[in-house]
Structure formats: C-alpha cells, structure tokens
Symmetry: C2
Subunit: 147 residues, 2 copies
Amino acid sequence: MTDKYEQIKLENQLCFPLYVCAKEIVRLYRKPLENIGLTYTQYIVMMVLWEKETLTEGELGEALYLDSGTLTPLLKKLENEGLIKKERLKSNERKVQIILSEKGREMKEEAVKVPDVMDGCVGLCPEEGAQLKKLLEKIIDHMRELV
Amino acid sequence: MTDKYEQIKLENQLCFPLYVCAKEIVRLYRKPLENIGLTYTQYIVMMVLWEKETLTEGELGEALYLDSGTLTPLLKKLENEGLIKKERLKSNERKVQIILSEKGREMKEEAVKVPDVMDGCVGLCPEEGAQLKKLLEKIIDHMRELV
DNA sequence: AAGTAAATAATTGTGTACAATAAGATTGTG
DNA sequence: CACAATCTTATTGTACACAATTATTTACTT
C-alpha cells in the first residue's frame, strides 16, 4: 500500500510544475519585453488596452485577476512612461478610467513581434497547446466558483 | 485573413492562463499553509527536505528552479523558525548544507493534511490532472534545453 | 607556488503579488 | 436629510523572484 507521505512528495504535486512552468515562461518573456520596455505584468495590462482602448481599474483587475495593491503602483508607472492616462470617472468619482495614450498605441507595433520570439520556446505542437489551454481554463473557471 | 494583432490578444495567449492558474492556486494554498506556518515557497522547500533530509543550497535551487537571491533569505527565515539548520560543508566551504531539524520533521505530520484540503479545488478528474501534469513537464523539459 | 578562472552563496535593487486597512464617494434606508 | 452600508481605489507590510554584482573558496594552469 502507498504510504501516507506519498502525496506530499514534490513529484506527485500538480501545483509545482504549474508554478515552475508559469515562472519560467514569464522569465523567458523578460528579454523580448525588455526590448520594448515592459515587464510581463505591464505587458498583459497593455494587451487589454490595445484591445479595449479604455476601461476602469476595477475592470482591468477583473480581467487580469489582479487587485489594486498590484495595479495601482503599476498603472502609476505606465502613466509616468506616458503609455496610459488615468482619470477619475465624472459619473462616479470612485472609479478610475485607464486610457491608452497615443504613445501606448504606437507600442503595439513593436509588441506584435513578441509572440513570434516566444513561439517555439514552449515546445508543444498546436494540438497540445490547445489542450493545455483548455485544461487551464477549466481550472480557472472552477476556482472562480469557489469564491 | 487574420489580422496581425490577433496573436497579441489576451485570449489567444497560452502564457496568460498559465500565469493566472499558477497564481490563483498558490493563493488558495495560502490559508491551509498559514495554519501550519508556511508560505508556498517555504512549503516546497520543506517538501524536498522531508524527502531528502539534507542537501546543499545549490541542489535545492536546482530542484525548485530558484536562485540564491530567493533561497538565501528564505532559508534564513526557516532557520530562525528552527525548521532547518545550515552548515558550511567541511569538504567544500563554498557550499552550504541544508539539514532538516527535528522540529521540521515533526511539521511533516501537519503537512500531510494540506493536499487533502487542496484536493477538489482544481476541479479536474484524475485523468485530466495527469494529462495536464504531463504537458507541463514537457514544457519544462523543453525550456531546460534552451539554456 | 602564483595567479587566474570557476564555483557558490550572499547582497542589492527593481518589480510584482496579495492581505489588511484606510480614505473617499455613492447608495440605500429610516 | 442623516447616516450607515457599500463600493472603489490607494496605502502599508510581508514575501517572493530574479538580474547583476560581490565575496569567498576551490580548481586549474603554467
């Protein structure tokens, strides 16, 4: 029979490879993103803005699973860089509108090259990639229910 | 035809769900681990020690994909807690031997309960879990080649 | 044996992450 | 209207995570 310590062995954990994998991929993003002047977290913020142009800090946090403790200082940096603007919403002064600036929009042209550089570093075929993505999204959906 | 911005949309990224999934699962570990007095990173360090009893800081870093900048202060904390001991290796004074203490060994009895608490929060069936684990390990192996 | 290179851990600096709390605006209720 | 509850962002404190650098020890080379 299996001993009771079997499940706290590192090799039997699901979370550990998940943790390592995410960490190492984000680390590989570092160089190509450095070339355009972003960190990974800043990159995903910009990705949302390149698509939506504008949204509130709260909506951004919901989309990226980040709270104000992370977003507020990060958005301050992006604002200092001139990539975004922040404005209190006239209709509701509690909310802060995040707006893509012209400079931020221009950065999109540089950013389109990043996925090309990153392609291939994962080493999965498209089917495996799709499969992985589906499994991850299933976990995320399930965890969202737990709240 | 697909426009050139298609691949920098958040929803088409593989890294993003990976990043969110790892982050959120580690966050869910917080409470159960807090009960035994560990953070997630400290937990995986202890997991290695519960299995090996002793190894060098370098070997630990290799096993966990962590560098000295992360490990050195973390190990200092675990030492202050009395969970481990640190000793310069006699045969090679550059290396530091990390040794599980009696108190650290006792913690293992509490820790065996953690995976039970975490089970079910992922929401995948065993087959899907195994499949996911395999895909993640394939990526990790592939990235290791890149160095 | 001397001097250089390599290995190993520690330190420094920057940037997340998040829980807990605070501050300010808005909404709801008596 | 008063005022409590709620919403939203900002702040504080703790803990990673890693690149770059430093300090110390060991190995190598001549």
